[in-house]
Amino acid sequence: MNKKFYGKVIYDLSKEGRRAYSLPQNGLGDGLKDIPAVFLRSKAPLLPEVDEPTLVRHYNNLSTNNFGVDTGFYPLGSCTMKYNPKINEELCALPQWQGLHPLQPVETVQGALLAYDALQKALCEIGGMARFTLNPYAGAHGELTGLMVIRAYHESRGDAARVKVIVPDSAHGTNPASAAVAGLKVVEVKSLPDGTIDTEALRGLLDETVAAVMMTNPNTVGIFESAIPEIAEMVHACGALLYYDGANLNPMLGIARPGDMGFDVMHINLHKTFSTPHGGGGPGSGPVGVRKGLEEFLPNPRVVPIDRDADALFGATLKVEKSGKSLGRISAWLGNFAVELRALAYILTLGRDGLMLAAPLATLNANYVKESLRDLYKLPIDRVCKHEFVFDGLADKSTGVTTLNVAKRLLDHGFHAPTIYFPLLFHESLMIEPTETESLETLDEFIEAMREIAHEASEDPDKVKNAPLETPVRRPDDTAAALTPKVTYFEL
């Protein structure tokens, strides 16, 4: 990453008369001249006018002020920032995919449907589910879809009283928000001091008004909820369904499947566990799986086998259809298709043996970092963790150096910061998830940096409090940004 700040916006480079476009011409004239003026813009939009070399240099320079997984260690808890394999980029961008219109005749898109179906089936095997839809575009979209499946299931039974979702207080922020958007009321259940769900408190909340319980396992403090069989039993006994937030699936690959743990509905973040790049905040993909008996509620459209006896042209075996019992449609078509292709390539590349090795190595990396720093950082939950764990800030709080300061100082050391101030269980949460694709040497460098920062916090606390000092820009004034929002170039 370039430590010098580039700082220009493309509009800064705009000059009237420059152009970067070259369009194919059909020689049929100006098609707008016969369109009545009432339908046309009176004023052209103000867009940049740049030449191609200027444009390319601008975006290249912008990129050099950005930190990605390919730049360095990115231990962002609950985000699973693992290596994004390059072969996947090649395979998802073949012209045979890019040129496919979703509505072109089904016999001309069989390869795409086969890819969708292959990934759907692989995810069923990995999740222990009966069927997946790949249509949801992101994790939160998957949560929403999964909760809609649950509501459609209860509605189909005439069970209209189930309006609540129980969510642990350690849950990802999207869980309660997804429940609200699905039209459900959220009830929080407290965690025990060891970070696991309070099963007795949960039992007390379960009744005939509960539609679902949402959990992630391991939970957001990285602890496996060993009581899950008992929890599943009590949830099912009250007629509710158990939802698995797949954000933390990575450490469970090959170890235990959500379906076998008793979960009825789950989503998977392909951009976490299955290595697709996050793209600065998307596109992701949030496939939703369901156990047997719930398949019919999955969203439309769906990819299904063609009846062999029907007149399948060109050997077509799959088609896209809508089902009447479905919860409805939640996306234009079959999801972020190019992201799905990347995940399929990843699963094939790792294979059953590679997938089963990813999980323990991710867990080993997390425990190694935890054990190497526990003397200097406060470890509120002292157990073997899974893929991630949480420190509650520095062990020595007397210096006034906060988790935010530690995170910012890490940037000076060339690392991305961990997730901070989440989960909400602790005041100074610092959530670290190394993933399996980091080497011992990288982890040691990170540990060394964290130790240096802890010592610096005692010796020169102001230096840590003023961090970062060596990044392209310094700490921004967030308050000013929110007070007088300037959200377009022409407000600058």
């Binding site: 575009y137 069989p229 939640i330 080993l364």
Partner: protein, 451 residues
Amino acid sequence: MGHRYFPHTPGDVAKMLERCGVASLDALYADVPESLRLKGEYDLPPQMSEQEVRDYFAALAEQTFPLECFGGAGFYDHYSPAVIPFITSRSEFLTAYTPYQPEISQGTLQYIFEYQTMMTQLTGLDVSNASMYDGTTALAEAMMMAVAAGRKKNKVLVTETLNPIYREVLDTYAHYQGIIVETIPASDGATDFDALASMLEGSKDVAAVIVATPNYYGILEDLTGVADKVHQAKALLIISAPAVTLGALKSPGEWGADISAGEAQSLGMPLNFGGPYLGYICCTKALMRKLPGRIVGATTDADGQRVFVLTLQAREQHIRRDKATSNICSNQGLMALYAAVYLSVTGSEGLREVNSISAAGAHYLAVELVKTGVFELKYPDRPFLNEFLLKYKGKVSLATLVESFAMSGVFAGVQTADDELLVCVTEKRSRRSIDDYIARVKMFASNNGNL
């Protein structure tokens, strides 16, 4: 044992286990009850070499056939300039997460800021967010946003001329939100605004009115005076349009919209069998604090430099949790970069030209197809840009025509009924390709369905 993505040597693993005070990798899972443990292995193939994975994908790709595309219906085949994938595949952009640490994420934050600026220019509105998943969910979020802004009002009026795929998504979200959706009828392919006026008259529970132009049939809707009627009823006006058309057509802001939401895939993004695409949503300043998703704003850093940050976060799911009116977290960030680069490539002149070339091709094709006698325009009196609805008059079924076109490598259009075909022409369709389409129709008709 081992894989090229995992750096661990056996010696590393031993050293690390020792630090952890754990005997084996398996012992890290001692807290997982035996009854839950996966018995044996996944029923999946073992790891493949890179070449084997390539071959696997090549075999799949051999079974897909991109066609010379005359289909639209919400998915548009515009030209993708070569510089865009070059830029969006830069790993600093591609492999970054959400810009939570602005000091090392200025690249992402700046392109989102550029994108926001360009989208407000296209829509003629004040504020844009950082992106939505796709056009359908963007419009659903616009509906929910309007209902949240309308406090106790929970009815939304939606034009019959909206793309049915969009309508299905609206209906799904509305059902679970308890929003009532009513249809504004169409007359001769366009929204019946007299009917809208009577639906609004005396109603107190309408939060928003949703219209689209160009509508599903490609028709340009005359929205003169509509915003006034909607605002008199104290409702909000939401206008949806394929983003590329806003380079030529009157913007939602000019029509008086409060919110504009829709699909931006038409900004040169590959069809890609449906994704990733890019939903856009823009609104007036008055509604800014109701806008879902992330917003980037400008500020200064400790050294006084102009820098960019995620702002107005009090609106977002991670703060509001169960009070949130949207749950969006990950969006389509990289596709916002795609759009920003596309619009920088075209500028406003290029974007106008994309539309003028496309419209010229479409109008030429429409006229020539009507001349064949095989088709007529379903709505001959309505203006259109580059997409139009045909009524088929041939003897052999229209489905057979579409099939036989596909066999010769052409996507004839989207069938919206047994005898209706929605046809779209973009600047990518050459004069020769359009003439070829016309010739095929003539041949099909004269040979009784044999090409």
